[in-house]
Symmetry: none
Subunit: 221 residues, 2 copies
DNA sequence: GGGGATTGTAACTGTTTTGTAACTATTTTT
DNA sequence: AAAAATAGTTACAAAACAGTTACAATCCCC
């Protein structure tokens, strides 16, 4: 049960400090000093169990990194000097699991990290819906034993449906969840993606249309 | 979807402040000024969705209250002036969902509360009226276990009846509530929708006609 | 900077929704 | 009891909405 933690923090001293402490506490650690590199590193391996992310970073900032990390199903703890309430609210609302203000005690960080990991441990390894299997670890979708390739956006969209299965999702919720609150795009874009997912998985009746509202993934309990 | 929040805080000014803000944000609030009373109150009703708990309380302190709350499956956010890391660590390790240090911004509290509630969202609130079940989360209506599809307008209309159950609703109120004040349409349009709902749900006698006025959804308490 | 993959959007098509009108049934009034 | 008013019901056409696809802009990796 060796947990691998991403540490994305541009201040080398703090980065080192965090990494050392995590290692002492028994974690595997992958440090990055800027957002771009971290972002690139994600695609290659995505076996991270949690990310500790500074908000102000060279390259890509923490807020920009958040959706990517969420797509890989990696919980995020923001770890930053930005103590203003606006940032906290934005960070948490956008889907960070916690928000710790610097300077912090290492012990508190460790405890909050442990809690986040604990919460995320309950997730099923492989999700099965009808004849479709989804492996979030591998980010891979299978239907009747053969892989169905979903484009990144389609996959993310699918995962949002899975996360809120049997819940009505409005187009706006999907837009906000997949592109972020500030995205100013056509709500119809959602329709296109849903259409593509339905087609690839032959899910005409699994993703139900809720007229005037949005969609709902129907899964029997 | 009205969430009921326990507020256990002995400083009346802070207690009031929190309660007021929660109420403004649309929560139901149950305040207690000491641990003993809160503990006693728990046994009676345990329909609380979250508890905001001060640690230093007369009677029973927050740490003592925590196991009790957890027994009732109520998530706890500690909300306290004790900023020392030891307390934080103890609180979180013992099973609190979050730990906010006073003085805090109300907005941060609201966001963190919202996140805790979201995580605990296991409770499906379903409205039952006779043999009809309405699940607003799913936006779905069931009768005797089989889904009855209601068109968007029919569903909204039904929900308005549910919201004002056992209250007489005039055609004008229904028009205004469902189409908006500015809508310039026939009042008879309402009749058509009511007719369709009655037919689909076999509710000839559940939605009563009030001659010359409008309709009323009759629900026994 | 070039080539391939991705994706948001526009445009077109097919489908569903819905306000209303017209007709019928029922209730109230005279 | 007839007339009048009100409510129930249904069909339908316009409008709104959703499905689909092609494509251009963008992104990303060599």
């Amino acid at each position: 049960m060796n947990r691998n933690i991403l540490v994305i923090e541009d201040e080398p001293a703090i980065n080192d400090l965090i990494c050392m402490n995590l290692e002492v506490a028994g974690y595997m650690v992958t440090p990055f000093l800027d957002g771009e590199k971290a972002s690139a590193g994600l695609a290659r391996h995505h076996e991270y169990d949690c990310a500790l992310v500074d908000i102000m970073l060279p390259g890509k900032d923490g807020f920009a990194l958040l959706p990517e990390l969420k797509n890989f199903n990696i919980p995020v703890i923001f770890l930053t000097a930005k103590a203003d309430v606006g940032s906290k609210v934005k960070g948490l609302k956008d889907g960070a699991e916690d928000y710790i203000v610097k300077p912090f005690e290492m012990l508190e960080l460790l405890v909050r990290l442990e809690k986040v990991l604990e919460r995320h441990m309950t997730q099923a390894e492989v999700i099965q819906i009808g004849d479709v299997k989804i492996d979030p670890q591998q980010r891979k979708v299978m239907k009747n034993g053969t892989e169905v390739y979903l484009k990144p956006m389609e996959y993310d969209c699918l995962m949002m449906f899975v996360r809120y299965q049997n819940k009505a999702l409005t187009r706006e919720q999907l837009l906000a969840g997949l592109w972020g609150q500030e995205f100013e795009g056509e709500t119809r874009t959602v329709d296109a993606h849903v259409g593509r997912i339905r087609k690839k998985l032959d899910w005409q009746d699994v993703i139900k249309t809720i007229p005037k509202i949005g969609y709902r993934l129907e899964v029997e309990e």
